[in-house]
């Protein structure tokens, strides 16, 4: 058996297409153990934490002050899991590309797809769709199970309560944008530690840093930070210094698009 005689029938003759690169990235995503674990953890946390949190709140409901009961937002425990899942999604978004640079896989990838950009679109697209497909059911399960636990104290929201459906679906959309944004960050930074540090800095370090600014500045600027703009779609109530849900989400999407465009430019022009 030689390489030539075995090949003619099975090798085909097609070229690179965007759809084929998407298939390839789908295979890549699921064929690494770290990915499967991260997505499992994100799913379990998104569903598990709200059930745990609402159970604890429910069992201690009697000891809550009237004031606390009045200001209790039943959506808070329902979406707490997705706040934690953003860490897993963000880290995985960086890893989707940075692990290719750290292992050298990127050379094989870019040799197979030398036009390069189809790889970026496929990575961001596949990871965004997977995130949405896992996180939308997760937040829905989290919402309905936590509200049913809280309903015995009449401290729950129904799906038809104004803003609830938007906030719950918004929590899944928020995670999808994080997925795209972090694939962009990973492509720009090309390094796992650096990419995760950049993600953590933007989402967890920058917001509290704003508190050192004079209040008027803080109020004017903070609402436009990626994390705050993005979370406005998850929040039920909005202060005067918060963007409205969909304008805020649009700002968040704009950040992700900007990161992806910057990633596309550097991926095209840099040596691999």
């Amino acid at each position: 058996m030689t390489a030539a005689t075995l090949s003619r029938a099975t090798v085909g003759d097609g070229g690179v297409t965007q759809a084929r690169v998407v298939r390839s990235e789908w295979t890549k995503l699921w064929s690494v153990r770290a990915t499967r674990w991260s997505l499992l953890v994100a799913t379990v946390l998104t569903i598990g934490f709200p059930i745990l949190a609402s159970s604890i709140i429910s069992s201690h409901w009697g000891s809550r002050s009237p004031h606390d009961r009045l200001h209790f937002n039943p959506l808070d425990p329902a979406l707490i899991g997705s706040q934690i899942a953003q860490l897993a999604i963000g880290v995985l978004g960086v890893l989707v590309i940075s692990s290719e640079y750290s292992t050298g896989m990127i050379r094989a990838t870019l040799t197979a797809v030398p036009k390069r950009l189809p790889v970026l679109w496929a990575k961001a697209g596949v990871f965004a769709v997977v995130t949405f497909a896992l996180m939308l059911p997760s937040v829905l399960i989290a919402f309905f199970s936590s509200q049913s636990i809280l309903s015995r104290h009449h401290a729950s929201y129904s799906w038809s309560h104004p803003g609830v459906a938007r906030a719950v679906i918004g929590a899944a959309l928020y995670l999808v944008v994080i997925a795209v944004l972090t694939v962009g960050i990973g492509t720009i930074v090309r390094n796992t530690a650096g990419g995760i540090a950049a993600f953590a800095a933007i989402f967890f370090v920058l917001p509290p840093l704003m508190d050192v600014l004079p209040t008027s500045w803080n109020n004017a600027i903070s609402q436009y930070l990626p994390s705050n703009a993005g979370r406005s779609v998850i929040a039920l109530t909005h202060s005067a210094h918060n963007l409205r849900p969909w304008p805020g989400f649009a700002v968040f999407v704009a950040y992700a698009v900007a990161a992806l465009v910057a990633a596309a430019i550097v991926l095209r022009t840099r040596d691999a």
């Binding site: 099975t10 085909g12 770290a34 050379r107 040799t111």
Partner: protein
């Protein structure tokens, strides 16, 4: 067919590839020879479009690599640096790359069989030995049944069995009519596998010739002589057009004359000889000789620039 024209690549202020022009023709094994750090890997990265040339250009089968619709069907490459995700199995690695070109899983199974990775195909590539990694790299290179196969230092670090396997594979690929472009820093390895040679040093082209010509040109005859009166002998052979060098251990090295002619010249000049022996330069020495001039020239230039 690979055509490089005035190919130049700078990294910062270091010039890695310097005005390289060469053709790699189909149907023969072309060796790409040069010392470590001479720019072989960079040249291959430029051919694959992984790096962009500072100036000049290189095409594969008439087009820049990245403009091909199905690049893996034009060139299959094994790079020296590892190009696999350590956490992914060999089979999934091949499948993911095959899918970019719509190549079937059947083809992947056949290649796993061909390179002998059946037993370990589900293991993570990060656990592979160097030899297994090279086999996976060869399978990757052959995915698209390419007409050109390009391998960067394929035998580096392999055990004798692995080296034998690679050599056999190279000959088989060439016998199937493919263009095989294989780099090495070992002249002896090239003499065994290559038909044609492209030799570079410090990023510059030194030779573009058949292996036989290169060996003939390089291995000029030297006669080593030991005598109590070296000056007398040197004068005698230099009159006959030979050049004479002195070795550290007290020998004269006469080049340009056959051993018989040196002996006759000594007799005619009544020079006493203690030792007289022909010395055929080994391939490694020949290669070193030819590249040395280039390297020293380069060093001198660097020194001038630094001064």
């Amino acid at each position: 067919m690979i055509e490089a024209r005035a190919l130049t690549k700078d990294y910062g202020d270091k010039r890695a590839v310097d005005g390289l022009s060469f053709d790699v023709r189909p149907g023969v094994v072309t060796g790409f020879l040069g010392p470590n750090g001479s720019g072989k890997s960079t040249t291959m990265r430029l051919i694959l479009g992984l790096d962009r040339p500072t100036s000049g250009h290189v095409t594969v089968n008439g087009k820049p690599y990245r403009e091909h619709r199905a690049p893996l069907r034009e060139v299959g490459a094994l790079l020296e640096a590892r190009s696999t995700h350590t956490g992914r199995s060999a089979r999934n690695h091949l499948r993911a790359l095959a899918q970019t070109h719509g190549i079937s899983n059947t083809r992947v199974e056949e290649l796993i069989e061909l390179v002998g990775l059946n037993d370990v195909q589900k293991q993570r590539a990060g656990k592979f030995s160097l030899g297994m990694g090279q086999r996976l790299g060869i399978a990757t290179a052959l995915l698209g049944d390419p007409s050109t196969v390009m391998l960067d230092e394929p035998v580096n670090g392999l055990d004798p069995e692995g080296i034998q396997w690679i050599r056999t594979m190279l000959r088989r690929l060439a016998s199937e009519g493919r263009t095989v472009f294989v780099s090495s820093h070992l002249m002896s390895e090239m003499a065994l596998t290559a038909d044609h040679l492209i030799v570079i040093g410090r990023g510059r082209l030194i030779a573009d010739t058949s292996v036989a010509d290169f060996v003939a040109r390089a291995s000029k005859d030297i006669v080593r002589v030991r005598t109590p009166t070296p000056e007398k002998l040197a004068a005698a052979v230099e009159r006959l057009g030979a050049t004479v060098g002195h070795t550290d251990d007290g020998y004269l090295e006469v080049s340009g004359l056959k051993v018989e002619a040196v002996g006759e010249a000594a007799a005619a000049a009544s020079v006493v000889l203690h030792e007289l022996a022909p010395h055929q330069a080994s391939l490694e020495e020949a290669f070193m000789d030819i590249t040395r001039g280039e390297l020293e020239f380069g060093h001198a230039e660097t020194a001038e620039a630094a001064a």
